[in-house]
């Protein structure tokens, strides 16, 4: 019961015999199936939430591999064709002295997705296992992951804009590489994964923990 970082015992809705609507945030008595307020389905805990989290997570990870192996952009100029991967492009930018842009690319395309994978995995694992992190911290993490997920698409947008703008026939042309599709899929899958996660389970862990202790 006396866990590090947990100062106060938390009373969850389930403990209180209530179920909260995730759409309109209204709490109803346990057993309510449809939210009388907004008409959404109401469940105390999403069934198979973790399964869906892991499935999307895995799909996102699989897609993330080709997204880094294959070229993101194919730049064809009069002289020669150049295709660059995400990391390769960032390194090249850095080599040309554009450290700022290289940093942005690297953060948006590598740090954030990887961070998301790690965060989601951590959250999903922490539901099952006893975590040393406080539920508040884990919930904050979840919020950040959910919020920041969409920004990973910035890379895909850049590719889309570039390839639609730079089409000068023989002189120069930019084509999206196969990695751009894989990367977009990867981002989508991780966002779905984050969405599939039921943050209420973070608080269940305390009960399990508590139950386990007791």
């Amino acid at each position: 019961m006396e866990r590090v970082g947990i100062t106060d015992p938390v009373l969850t809705a389930r403990d209180a015999g209530l179920v909260g609507c995730r759409t309109c945030a209204r709490a109803w008595p346990m057993g309510t199936e449809v939210c009388p307020n907004c008409g959404s389905r109401v469940v105390s805990r999403s069934r198979r939430s973790l399964q869906r989290v892991w499935a999307w997570w895995l799909a996102g990870l699989i897609c993330y591999v080709p997204a880094n192996i294959y070229p993101m952009l194919e730049t064809r100029t009069l002289v020669h064709t150049e295709s660059s991967t995400i990391v390769g492009g960032a390194v090249e930018l850095a080599a040309h002295g554009s450290y700022g842009i290289a940093l942005i690319v690297l953060v948006a395309s590598v740090v954030i997705p990887v961070g998301k994978f790690v965060s989601i995995a951590f959250l999903a694992l922490s539901v099952r296992r006893i975590s040393r992190a406080s539920p508040q911290a884990r919930h904050g993490t979840y919020e950040i992951v959910e919020y920041i997920g969409r920004w990973s698409m910035i890379d895909v947008f850049v590719v889309a804009i570039l390839s639609s703008l730079v089409q000068l026939n023989a002189v120069a042309a930019i084509q999206p590489g196969p990695a751009s599709l894989a990367f977009a899929l990867s981002v989508i899958f991780t966002m779905l994964s984050a969405q599939a996660f039921d943050p209420r389970m973070i608080w269940d862990g305390i009960e399990i923990d508590k139950a386990g202790r007791e």
């Binding site: 198979r48 399964q51 869906r52 499935a55 999307w56 895995l58 799909a59 699989i62 897609c63 591999v65 080709p66 009069l78 002289v79 020669h80 899929l185 899958f189 779905l192 599939a196 139950a211």
Partner: protein, 700 residues
């Protein structure tokens, strides 16, 4: 609270794995399957790897340099490494799977890099894209061969071109240059490969290819010649600069022509000579067109300078070949001494002798037989001037028995005989001696003397002045010609001519106006009337002799009277009348008057001289009658004067139409004046006579 945990495990046990599993799991499954599928496909599509060794990497870079076949990418260089002992560069090339089986043992590889030559720029695209490896192989899939040796240079028939492969042997003066085009009537039909030395090291040769479909033009009668460089000749036709094309001027080139028909089509690998120019190529047709050469060696005991490669070889005066190489030889074992001998290799054309299959299967047999009969080779002088030698084969009757050495290497040896050079040299020496003996010095001395004399003459002061005089003369002539008078002469002449022309024009105008005014006719009329008037005068004067007779009588009668004075007066009167009538227009009148006066004069003379005095009385008696007759006669004078006046007036009127200044008018006017004066004189005479009729007689 305590019964809650057991419920969950019961639920999980009851539900099967399938029921428990979320449908979302299908997504990673599909992703995995796709990824695996892609991975497997790209792996299975990977072609095999071959290794090509190069002399140098020359700009190859792993992952970028491609292998091309007919300009299509069929492979990619994956790695560039060294061979074990670092003497070659090994390029690992990943081939396309579908092309792999064609890359068999006869596949060729070479590097395409930009090249700028006199014949143009090639491989320009590689300047930007970097070098690439070009491969060539046939269309027969004979299985992949992994290790290949790259060619140093592009092969002749690049890009899978088919063609006739021939070998060109350069003759002296002809140059073979790598990559030079083979031209046929100005069209590039082939290409020369890298030249090299022939196996025996005697001449340069190169492989060449004549592309399809031009290969069939080449026959055994085809001759090749070098078109590189240019020829410049000056002859009777003027200077001539000749070169085939600018490219071949710099980069060389070979042209060919099938000069005579009847050659057999050339086979792959056929050898042709390359001549220095077209003339030699054409001439060669009649030299070397026939069959193979027969090589013989002759060892001459003497070692003469003057025998050169290319010197003719004659058999009894017929040229049958040439000396193809010369070298000295020292062979103590063979010749028994260590003297240097001359070893000449003769290239003979047996076909020149029409040695056909009929009699001798091998031309050597013929020579063998002839050697048995005493045929020997010897050196003779070809030309006295240069001292050049030729090889002559001649039968020496008393030659020592010698046989052909058929087993000699590399060529059979033909025995030689004593050379005939010294004789010729002696003759030449004799010629030179005689030239030497000529009195050239004396000739020169007298020539020098002559020249001295000539110099003295030329150097003399007089002769030297001649040019100056001539120059002065020329100057004078030039001054005369250039003088103002001569210069203006033409102008004056032309002015004169102009005036003449003007005068002629005036004349023409006068004539025209004359004829226009019918002047001539009117003048004629005037003259006619004048004549008529004169006739009237004559008639009237006809009575004068009688009058004179009376006068004579009268003067006889009055002897004291001053007859002389009277006569002088009459004379004077008559003279003036004569003068008046002397003008041209009234010629007829004065003539008649003059005659009349002459008679009067004669009569008076007669009278004066006497004789007439006798009749004076009688005359005086009739003087009265005479005076009366005169009166009658003179009575007609005023009318005559009036008529003349009228005539003159009429003429004047006529002439007034004529130009006042013209000569004719002046003259006519003067005549008219005279006539008028005459008329006045007549009038005064008639008046005087009227007043005092006796004045004629008394002279007052």
């Amino acid at each position: 609270m305590t019964d809650q945990p057991p419920e969950i495990p019961v639920q999980s046990v009851r539900q099967s794995l399938f029921e428990r599993a979320s449908v979302v799991w299908l997504v990673p499954m599909a992703a995995l399957l796709v990824a695996l599928g892609v991975a497997w496909q790209s792996y299975s599509d990977r072609g095999p790897v071959i290794e090509i060794s190069f002399q140098s990497a020359a700009g190859m870079s792993p992952g970028e340099t491609v292998l091309r076949y007919r300009d299509v990418d069929v492979g990619l260089v994956e790695d560039v490494a060294f061979s074990d002992n670092l003497d070659r560069v090994l390029a690992t090339v990943r081939l396309d799977k579908d092309i792999a089986s064609f890359v068999d043992a006869d596949a060729q590889f070479w590097i395409i890099r930009p090249e700028v030559t006199a014949r143009g720029v090639t491989g320009l695209d590689t300047v930007l894209s970097g070098v690439y490896i070009e491969g060539a192989w046939d269309g027969e899939p004979d299985g992949l061969v992994v290790r290949h040796e790259a060619l140093g240079d592009p092969p002749l028939a690049a890009g899978g071109q088919a063609g006739l492969r021939i070998m060109l042997n350069a003759s002296p003066g002809a140059a073979l240059s790598e990559g030079a085009p083979i031209l046929y009537k100005g069209i590039e039909v082939g290409r020369i490969g890298k030249p090299g030395l022939s196996d025996d090291g005697v001449n340069a040769q190169a492989n060449a290819i004549v592309f399809e479909p031009y290969g069939k033009i080449i026959t055994t009668a085809t001759r090749f010649w070098d078109t590189s460089g240019f020829t410049f000749s000056i002859g009777t036709g003027g200077a001539e600069l000749d070169f085939t094309s600018l490219a071949s001027l710099i980069g060389g080139g070979v042209a060919f022509e099938t000069i005579v028909s009847g050659g057999r089509p050339a086979l792959d690998g056929a050898a042709f000579g390359l001549f220095a120019d077209e003339g030699r190529a054409r001439a060669s047709l009649f030299d070397t067109s026939e069959g193979t050469k027969l090589n013989l060696t002759v060892v001459f005991r003497e070692n003469f300078s003057g025998l050169a490669v290319g010197a003719p070889v004659e058999l009894e005066g017929v040229r049958i070949g040439e000396v193809s190489s010369i070298r000295g030889i020292v062979d103590e074992d063979r010749f028994g001494d260590d003297a240097v001998r001359l070893l000449a290799t003769l290239a003979l054309l047996p076909s020149r002798l029409s040695l056909d299959v009929a009699e001798f299967d091998d031309p050597l047999d013929y020579f063998e037989q002839r050697v048995d009969a005493g045929l020997r080779a010897r050196l003779v002088t070809a030309t006295i001037l240069t001292g050049g030698l030729k090889v002559e084969m001649i039968e020496v009757p008393d030659a020592p028995i010698e046989l052909m050495d058929l087993s000699a290497e590399p060529y059979p040896i033909l025995p030689s005989a004593q050379s005939e050079i010294s004789d010729m040299t002696a003759t030449a020496e004799g010629v030179f001696q005689r030239i030497n003996a000529l009195p050239i010095e004396e000739l020169l001395v007298s020539a020098i003397g002559f020249l001295d004399a000539a110099e003295t003459l030329v150097g003399g002061e007089d002769v030297r002045q001649v040019p100056g005089d001539v120059r002065g003369l020329i100057g004078d002539v030039r001054g005369l010609v250039g003088s103002q008078e001569l210069q203006t002469l033409p102008a004056e002449v032309s002015a004169l001519v102009g005036e003449l022309q003007l005068a002629a024009a005036d004349m023409r105008i006068v004539t025209a106006s004359l004829s226009e005014a019918d002047l001539v006719a009117r003048l004629q009329g005037a003259v006619d009337s004048a004549t008529a008037a004169a006739t009237g005068i004559e008639i009237s004067v006809a009575g004068v002799p009688e009058l004179l007779t009376s006068l004579t009588a009268l003067s006889d009668r009055v002897a004291s009277l001053p007859v002389e004075t009277m006569i002088a007066q009459v004379n004077e009167t008559l003279a003036s009348a004569e003068m008046l009538f002397a003008s041209k227009d009234t010629q007829a009148l004065p003539g008649a008057l003059a005659t009349a006066m002459a008679e009067v004069e004669a009569a008076i003379l007669e009278l004066r001289e006497g004789g007439a005095v006798r009749n004076l009385n009688q005359t005086l008696a009739s003087a009265e009658t005479a005076a009366a007759a005169i009166e009658t006669a003179v009575a007609g004078l005023p009318s005559l004067a009036v008529r003349i006046e009228t005539l003159v007036e009429r003429a004047e009127n006529t002439l007034s139409g004529v130009d006042q200044n013209s000569e004719l008018s002046r003259e006519a006017r003067a005549s008219l004046r005279d006539i008028r004066n005459a008329a006045k004189a007549f009038e005064s005479l008639s008046r005087a006579l009227e007043r005092r009729p006796n004045s004629v007689i008394i002279g007052r």
